[in-house]
Symmetry: C2
Amino acid sequence: MRSQGTPPRNQRIPDAAVRRLPAYLRVLEELQRERVAVVSSTELSARTGFSPEQIRKDLAYFGAFGTRGVGYETEALARRIRRILGLHGTIHAALVGAGNLGTALARYTLSRHEDVRIVAIFDVDPAKVGKGIQGVAISPMDQLIPVCRRLGVKIGIIAVPASEAQAVASALAEAGVEAILNFSPVKIHVSDPVYVQNIDLTMELQSLAYHTSVGGYPGPLDGESP
Amino acid sequence: MRSQGTPPRNQRIPDAAVRRLPAYLRVLEELQRERVAVVSSTELSARTGFSPEQIRKDLAYFGAFGTRGVGYETEALARRIRRILGLHGTIHAALVGAGNLGTALARYTLSRHEDVRIVAIFDVDPAKVGKGIQGVAISPMDQLIPVCRRLGVKIGIIAVPASEAQAVASALAEAGVEAILNFSPVKIHVSDPVYVQNIDLTMELQSLAYHTSVGGYPGPLDGESP
DNA sequence: AATTGTGAAGCATTTCACAGCT
DNA sequence: AGCTGTGAAATGCTTCACAATT
């Protein structure tokens, strides 16, 4: 397919590429603060740890943003990536579950991100309802659908116990949420247009053990004794 | 001792397969509580969301654990996976950084995992040192190497700001830690035998926006207006 | 001279399809 | 008859190598 000048229209964009964009964006913002106007894929590579070719390819999926022989204009590229990700303007998120993990995520997110902003928090525990985290009120679960709808929430963050996760996911979907970050250790099912990304901390932790001297495949396991 | 069956000797095991094992283990433990003695890959698929073929292939990397025509013996398979992961016995972990995220990770991990156990916590803030999280004391940073060595810490969890992450990683490596879970948003570099797994929450959150109606590749971006 | 953008090659992982046991 | 184990095919992602451009 020959399309020069024109950004590649109907090409499938690998999810892996999309997920690296925020890393590029972070570095570009750093560079802007350092008043660096132009950057090469090699320099971006040094700062992100991804290979220069991969960076070029990732960016090229969305069009030709660089200048051959020169590099990428820092500010323009940052703006472009923000636009591609949907981070121009503020995007509204809701956190469900204000336990240990949920509370930490809220504080972490609220202190760092202007672009993705938690605007509502929900919890089943009546003792928590009415309190707030950094100015965002904690509401009861039965408010989830109306509040998310009213506030135009696009992203849901699930930090509830496994048993509740599916119900929460369904409610979020019904409320019009379009993407979900699921920290519960169960596979949730939602109707088609909702995107789900899972982070299972237990899986991450336990699989780490494999890479230590105590884990690993020991060869033929002999003996069945406990 | 003799090699029974045919455990695949010198085959490379995909990291992706190792990272799914904890999910299988979790379901197997559930099934044990439900007194289910045997399980098929189809049933495991229904409970984990991974495909039956993939599950069979993953397990087969480590040897032939099932019985054709029947399925997998729940208890034996669970024991096998724990052994492969190195989760027979308790494996010692250290958390570095007791901020919002670190504290939540400590509470989450300490309340859930018996097998991977946080035995030491470190923080730069003198106000936090001396306090503890669920019975585990918070120690000053300069104690990191001696304490980790003394306690035989194999896994390190980094939850410090980006600026400190590399120094912490190097210290952990020097203390003999063999695997690191890095929550900071920088690529850390450690000498060879240390395995590093990154979880970048900002990347996860921001890339989610792409999959909403506000994000996504909009086609040829025209106009440079903000 | 330097650096991007990209087809093609190279890997890695997943899915398919079915032979092989129980 | 049912379900595992596994080569082979398909898919997806990364790296290579170099033409195109400033």
